[in-house]
């Protein structure tokens, strides 16, 4: 005998409610879905076209430079092997499609997650409001998001990006909230005592001190996006996921393994580079190497000058890199 029967309760029509809510949205919010669809679709197309437009060798070189800067020599070797293998297996093009989807979804996830995370981190009560929602987003089996996405946006890249955004927003929200809340209260008190406004405290104290945590969230967001855009191939997302779906339908173990391996390699390259970049921007890393390349210096310096920060570095390597920069200007 079930508990429900004991209490003589009827079954809750929860599934029906969700269905009818979806129906209502379908009839009343078509215009909105249209706008979202065209925005997401065109951004994904733009990124995808850009990636495909860059010659393979040039893209190779760019990723290698990033690996050199943020991981080191082992990173360069590892990245070369990983990308080389993907290219060799003939999966370069679907890998770029997957990367485009991942980047698009990440950008939108972060655009939602960072403000929400900051907002929630500033007050304890907001956090207790946001936390269950984030838990829900993250623990709901990701396939479930595919169903309404398909109903609202039909099949293809757009519903894939939508479900990915929902799924991948949770970690950056969580980590941003955590980062803001972990800022020691004495640092905030100091700023208050010196006459800082709330927004000054946020910009000049809380965000910089929360940055390491936020960057971990960004890294996780990229990883979750990547895994979700693969799953979303079930509703027609292009890229490596398509290869995997095809392999499943044809019970082709070899093709399935190869496509899966490409996903793993892409994930590792993305993870190591963003992780290294995160550590660099949070000043957690030791002395900078003296042989870093001008492009990477420009990237780091540009970012730092925008944010008034710097990577931790010794006096000597710093002067060296300044010289390199000046050299570039002439």
């Amino acid at each position: 005998m079930t508990v429900r029967a004991i209490f003589g309760l009827p079954q809750l029509p929860l599934a029906k409610w969700v269905d009818s809510a979806t129906q209502w949205l379908l009839t009343h919010a078509t215009g909105l879905f249209h706008v979202i669809s065209s925005v997401l679709g065109s951004i994904d197309d733009a990124i995808s076209n850009a990636l495909h437009g860059i010659p393979e060798a040039a893209l190779f070189a760019i990723v290698m430079v990033l690996a050199w800067e943020f991981i080191g020599l082992t990173g360069v070797v590892g990245t070369f092997v990983a990308l080389g293998l993907i290219s060799n297996l003939g999966l370069w093009s679907p890998t770029l499609d997957t990367l485009a989807l991942t980047l698009t979804a990440t950008v939108f996830s972060l655009a939602i997650a960072l403000p929400v995370g900051i907002w929630a981190g500033l007050r304890e009560r907001r956090e207790s409001f946001v936390k269950p929602i984030v838990d829900f987003m993250q623990t709901m089996p990701p396939y479930v998001y595919l169903i309404p996405s398909v109903m609202f946006f039909s099949v293809g890249a757009v519903p894939a990006i939508i479900s990915t955004i929902i799924f991948a927003s949770a970690p950056p929200i969580r980590m941003t909230t955590l980062g803001i809340r972990q800022v020691p209260t004495d640092k905030i008190e100091v700023s208050t005592a010196f006459g800082a406004t709330r927004s000054q405290i946020l910009r000049k104290v809380q965000l910089p001190l929360a940055l390491p945590s936020i960057l971990v969230g960004v890294n996780q967001c990229i990883m979750m996006s990547l895994s979700m855009v693969i799953i979303a191939s079930m509703i027609g997302a292009n890229g490596l996921g398509q290869n995997i779906i095809n392999a499943i339908t044809q019970v082709d173990v070899g093709d399935g393994f190869v496509a899966g391996l490409a996903v793993v390699l892409l994930a590792i390259v993305l993870d190591r580079i963003t992780h290294g970049a995160g550590r660099r921007f949070s000043r957690q890393q030791g002395a900078m190497r003296t042989w870093q390349l001008p492009l990477s210096i420009l990237l780091v310096r540009g970012w730092q000058s925008m944010h008034g920060r710097r990577a931790k570095q010794d006096g000597a390597p710093e002067s060296h890199s300044t010289v390199t920069l000046d050299h570039l200007k002439h």
């Binding site: 640092k187 006459g195 406004t197 000049k204 910089p208 001190l209």
Partner: protein, 366 residues
């Protein structure tokens, strides 16, 4: 009666400024605390209405009980108390980090309870120094020192110039571009001092500034603070549990115990005329020789013509040294202008060491 000198000891000769009471009364107080109460926690609203009714508050502990206090321009005012005595609350109520339950706090003419823009403006005229330094780890030394100016919207070049000046004032020249994790505790507190001074504040609020530092560094920083004060003449409010801070730095001290202000006065006043048992317990361990000066053992007798000379404001220990020389039985005491104002003998010194100053300043004023 040994011919005791029944008049105030000359103040011009003292090594520290000790503005005469009469002058002080003429200056408007920089800080004016009137009947300040602070009760923390959920009881606060109830306490507020009880106090407003004139009933006071005894139901739960109050961090501050009916504290009234005036602090005058240019003085170093040290609040001494054990932890839990309410001294941190008192300091934080001066810049509005703590809102009073009852009573008013006026700093530089602004009511701290006003809040909003006027409180922020007031805060930018107060420099605060923290026990654990409060240095921002993601900023360089110069950027930390310039923080207050940056909040005020001063341009980068200007704020770095001014921060650079105060950094060299505190002896951190050449470390401008270091990061906090490369500095020692003493250096971090210097950054804290430079950050506060860069604002050119009218008042410095110091929250146990030396407590987290080694004894030697403490001494060094106290000395440095006195030197800086000699040049800048700020009003300084310093809270501490360390009576040495009070003895070395204070023009006046206040003794806070369990939220109640027990006694306010100069260090010799409090040390040699404690008002009650609680104050006495606090001051019993103050080394007398740190507090006593020659003027405290001064008598009217005309010294022998060949007597060695000492200044009225010199530490008594100095006179003891001179009296220890063979054949010296008394010293000629001179004011700052060189005028002889009396003498000190071995007998009076021994008497002072045993019973406190011959003319306690409290007696003189009353």
């Amino acid at each position: 009666m040994l011919g005791l000198k029944r008049r105030p000891a000359p103040s011009e000769g003292t090594p520290r400024r000790e503005p005469a009471q009469a002058d002080r009364a003429a200056d408007a107080p920089v800080i004016d605390i009137d009947a300040l109460w602070k009760v923390y926690g959920p009881q606060e609203p109830k306490a507020r209405s009880e106090i407003a009714r004139g009933a006071g508050w005894t139901e739960s502990a109050a961090a501050l009980r009916d504290v009234s206090l005036q602090i005058h321009p240019g003085e170093i005012f040290v609040v001494v108390g054990l932890s839990g005595s309410g001294k941190t609350t008192l300091l934080r109520s001066l810049n509005g980090l703590v809102r009073p339950t009852a009573g008013t706090v006026r700093v530089l003419g602004t009511d701290v309870a006003a809040g909003g823009t006027s409180l922020r403006e007031l805060r930018s005229r107060l420099g605060m120094i923290f026990q654990l330094f409060g240095i921002l780890p993601h900023r360089s030394v110069i950027s930390n020192a310039a923080f207050g100016l940056e909040l005020r919207g001063v341009s980068r070049a200007e704020r770095e110039r001014r921060a650079g000046e105060t950094l060299s004032l505190v002896g951190l020249e050449g470390r401008e571009h270091a990061y906090p994790d490369e500095l020692s505790g003493g250096q971090l507190q210097r950054v804290g001092l430079a950050r506060a001074l860069a604002l050119d504040p009218d008042v410095l609020l110091m929250d146990e500034p030396f407590s987290a530092l080694d004894v030697l560094i403490r001494e060094e920083l106290r000395k440095q603070l006195l030197e800086i004060q000699k040049r800048l003449q700020k009003t300084i409010v310093l809270i501490t549990h360390d009576l040495t801070d009070a003895v070395v730095l204070a023009d006046r001290i206040a003794l806070l115990h369990a939220g109640v202000l027990r006694q306010v006065g100069t260090v010799p006043e409090v040390c040699f005329a404690p008002k009650d048992e609680v104050v006495e317990r606090y001051v019993t361990h103050v080394p007398q020789l740190e507090v006593l000066r020659v003027e405290h053992a001064l008598i009217d007798d005309v010294p022998p013509a060949d007597a060695p000379v000492t200044r009225a404001g010199a530490p008594l220990a100095e006179a003891i040294g001179l009296l220890g020389a063979p054949g010296v039985s008394s010293l000629r005491v001179a004011a700052d202008d060189g005028r002889t104002i009396g003498s000190v003998t071995a007998e009076t010194v021994v008497r002072v060491l045993g019973r406190g100053p011959l003319v306690s300043e409290t007696e003189v004023r009353s």
